[in-house]
């Protein structure tokens, strides 16, 4: 089983790479709504899928975080993408599969996935 010794080894390995990490202000933030409304509609698997994909694709300029209820409970699970210097993009009614499309299209290629944004709901 995993021991703290292994974590020390990871730290030793990473200390040589510290200069490569980007400043927080250059980072894209991906925020998942994690209040009761989000969790009850399936936000945890969406968050897990996003985190796993960001790790496995080594998107070191992206941080995945969680937030509370933003007041649009009927559109949960909601994922917001905040890129420095750009308008916030709000994706609604997400699933792990849709989230992976957002990773591929938006986070990697820079193309907003219009069919999943809140404006595609035709109400806002």
């Amino acid at each position: 089983m995993k021991t703290l010794e292994e974590l020390k080894a990871i730290r030793e390995k990473m200390q040589g790479q510290i200069g490569l990490r980007s400043e927080d202000s250059d980072k894209t933030r991906v925020v998942v709504g994690m209040a009761t409304c989000g969790i009850a509609s399936g936000a945890r698997p969406v968050l897990t899928a996003l985190s796993d994909a960001v790790q496995s694709k080594h998107l070191s300029n992206v941080t995945v975080t969680q937030t509370g209820c933003i007041g649009l409970c009927q559109y949960e699970p909601i994922v917001e993408v905040m890129e420095p210097g750009k308008d916030k993009v709000t994706y609604v009614k997400m699933t792990p599969e849709k989230a992976l499309e957002v990773v591929e299209q938006h986070l990697i290629r820079g193309q907003i996935v219009g069919k999943y944004t809140i404006s595609s709901e035709g109400r806002l």
Binding site: L7, K13, I18, R44, G68, C73
Partner: protein
């Protein structure tokens, strides 16, 4: 509606985060002998006043401003009580809050514990400024993960670094599998 106890844990822990807690203790104990599954979530956040505490299981009471309904605590309470278990909250303004839910393990209406590893992984890696002390026990064996030990080793290295993230994920899963011994709880 929550379908797993681990989703309730994630939800109730969000309340601790919103209360400004710097330390959150999550303790889950499964006892086949006593036929109980007990969950305790305690924090050192802002706590609640007596009048807030009196309304805590009222779904139409919420201090949030984004919506006027709060179902998190009622869901957790109902989930425990429908198995013949118990639910209680202790809180003191300025000190913190402790939520305890006891489920009757063998009751047909008890939700599965579910993916507690994902719950803990997302809490830990998305809230790096909060210390988590997580204990999971089955009968007489248990393990405890204290993120202060991780932080001491890692210094300012982020939990979201791929190697660290995977380490924490495997650490949680391996220890849980070892205790569950193939049983689905």
């Amino acid at each position: 509606m929550m379908t797993e106890i681990s989703l309730n844990v994630l939800d109730v822990a969000q309340n601790s985060i919103r209360a400004g807690a710097s330390r959150i203790i999550i303790d889950i104990q499964v006892s086949h002998k006593e036929d109980r599954l007990k969950v305790i979530i305690s924090d050192n956040g802002c706590g609640m006043t007596d009048s807030q505490l009196a309304h805590v299981d009222d779904p139409f009471y919420s201090t949030r401003t984004t919506r006027t309904i709060g179902l998190g605590i009622p869901f957790f309470k109902n989930g425990a009580e429908m198995t013949g278990g118990t639910f209680s909250i202790k809180s003191e303004a300025g000190k913190g809050t402790e939520v305890t839910a006891v489920f009757v393990l063998s009751h047909i209406d008890r939700m599965p514990l579910g993916d507690i590893t994902s719950t803990m992984l997302s809490l830990i890696t998305c809230n790096e400024n909060i210390d988590f002390v997580y204990t999971y026990g089955v009968d007489n064996r248990s393990f405890t993960l204290d993120t202060r030990e991780f932080r001491k080793i890692l210094g300012d290295i982020s939990y979201q670094e791929p190697d660290v993230y995977n380490y924490i994920k495997e650490y949680l899963q391996e220890h849980k599998d070892d205790l569950d011994q193939g049983k689905y709880i």
